[in-house]
């Protein structure tokens, strides 16, 4: 079939297997999540990317207090575009997660239960997720305008001087995500790709 260019209605969601979950993430919810599942996430999440993670690490090393209580929380690797007048936030899709790999295992060991981003995680991060029962969600890269519709409120809670890299507490409603790494060691980037590969070894 070759489709003609077609506008979608911008609201409806046809994927049949989606599951609604809320933050803070509890063990009983996390244990039911499997790689490849679509979820709609609601509640509070925190944006943090390169520079904020560097500061988290420095704070932890110095024995200081982090600007957020990590237990049960979800960090979103995101640096939004500025909010236009009358809007809560600008475009706010995920950035590449691997740049935060050096910092993630420590945060997971301190109680972080979820990370949202795009792209593969390092073996160390995947091990930490298994050991401490944390999950990694993929938000669709380059879908920042759509994702902004899920954001109900946004408040800078730390590192305002970092501009787009400040830590922002977002209240989200039905944010569309896919489970990439579950707590059982499954990785959608491996299983999904293996399933559809028909060329030489990927």
């Amino acid at each position: 079939m070759t489709g003609k260019a077609r506008r979608t209605d911008g609201k409806r969601n046809s994927y049949s297997m989606e599951k609604k979950i809320r933050t803070p993430l509890e063990g009983d919810v996390i244990r039911l999540l499997g790689a490849g599942e679509k979820v709609l996430l609601s509640g509070y999440i925190y944006t943090a990317r390169d520079a904020a993670h560097k500061r988290f690490a420095e704070t932890i090393k110095a024995g200081g207090q982090l600007p957020l209580e990590l237990k049960g929380q979800v960090i979103y690797y995101c640096g939004p575009s500025p909010a236009p007048p009358g809007r809560v936030i600008g475009s706010c899709g995920p950035t590449t997660s691997s740049r935060m790999d050096a910092y993630a295992p420590k945060l997971i060991s301190l109680g972080l239960k979820g990370m949202i981003g795009k792209g593969r995680r390092s073996p160390a991060v995947r091990d930490a997720m298994k050991q401490h029962e944390a999950v990694y969600f993929g938000a669709t890269g380059g879908a920042g305008a759509l994702i902004s519709r899920s954001v109900v409120s946004a408040e800078v809670i730390a590192y305002e001087d970092l501009g787009p890299e400040a830590v922002v507490r977002l209240e989200v409603r039905d944010m569309p995500l896919f489970v990439i790494n579950d707590i059982y060691g499954n990785d959608l980037y491996e299983t999904g790709v293996e399933r559809y590969r028909s060329g030489p070894l990927y």
Partner: protein, 279 residues
């Protein structure tokens, strides 16, 4: 000689960058729309539908398609009979970028390479200027995100590696990027010239309209072979597994030194934002 005032250039650059960042080109929208039909993975299909919903949302809400509104890559084809008045051409482009990223609520993504301090206004832009016959000024803007740009590379192959060497290199880059450059991607391949020419050719290649084949039959066939092989890697939309990993592959080739085979690969994400205007 024809005079073009820098005020006109500033305003064109401002409008082009705002427009490019918000409105996905029709042919890219159509390519993603076609990919929904071609994709075999249900997860992949869902991701592609999200991309269409996203393009709709951006257009309706006048919001950037992606928060990474890129480094401001600007191509200028300056007619040799054009006389720029009112100031410097490069400064006019910078001023247009400064205004676009402020007025359009676009993210400023330019920083000092070591301290990582943001320049604050998304300058300096990357400017490529070419002198061409005529008395017109053609401006093409390509706001380019970091995620896809990070998976480009220039490699000086040994001439004996030939066509197969080029294909292996391209596939290696696509696999190395995997999910990170936001597939379905557009792959630009520059062959020949020298070190920097191959890089420029690869960038020009990603700007070729989706579906357009190289005029050279051998290269057109190679583009199709590569597209097929890339789509058999299984990477799929967002790297979640699937049969549409690339929307297209374009090759640009020019002669090179007897001793060299320069090849560059430049990757573009599915949010292929591009606009042009002739003054």
């Amino acid at each position: 000689m024809r005079d073009i005032h820098t005020d006109e250039i500033i305003s064109a650059i401002e409008n082009l960058f705002i427009d490019a960042n918000i409105n996905l080109p029709e042919n890219v929208y159509k390519a993603i729309s076609d990919a929904v039909e071609k994709e075999r993975s249900p997860v992949g299909k869902e991701v592609l539908k999200e991309l269409l919903r996203n393009a709709d949302a951006a257009r309706q809400e006048h919001m950037p398609i992606c928060q990474d509104t890129g480094v401001a890559v600007t191509f200028l084809e300056v007619g040799q009979d054009v006389h720029i008045v009112g100031g410097g051409l490069a400064e006019a482009v910078s001023e247009g970028v400064r205004r676009a990223y402020k007025k359009g609520y676009l993210r400023k993504s330019c920083c000092h390479p070591f301290s990582r301090k943001n320049t604050g206004d998304n300058t300096p832009p990357v400017i490529h200027a070419k002198i061409v016959p005529g008395d017109k000024l053609k401006i093409t803007v390509l706001p380019k995100g970091g995620g896809s740009e990070n998976y480009g590379e220039v490699r000086m192959l040994v001439p004996a590696q030939g066509r197969d060497g080029v294909k292996t290199f391209v596939l290696e880059m696509v696999k190395k990027g995997g999910p990170n450059p936001c597939p379905p991607i557009i792959v630009g391949v520059g062959i020949g010239g020298n070190f920097e020419t191959s890089a420029m050719l690869s960038k020009e290649a990603i700007m070729v309209p989706i579906g357009e084949r190289n005029a050279d039959e051998e290269l057109a066939a190679m583009e199709m072979e590569l597209l097929g092989e890339i789509n058999r890697t299984g990477i799929g939309p967002q790297g979640y597994g699937g049969t549409v990993t690339a929307l297209d592959v374009h090759i640009r080739m020019v002669p090179c030194h007897l001793a060299s085979l320069p090849v560059a690969v430049n990757i573009q994400c599915h949010a292929h934002r591009i606009r042009e205007m002739v003054l």
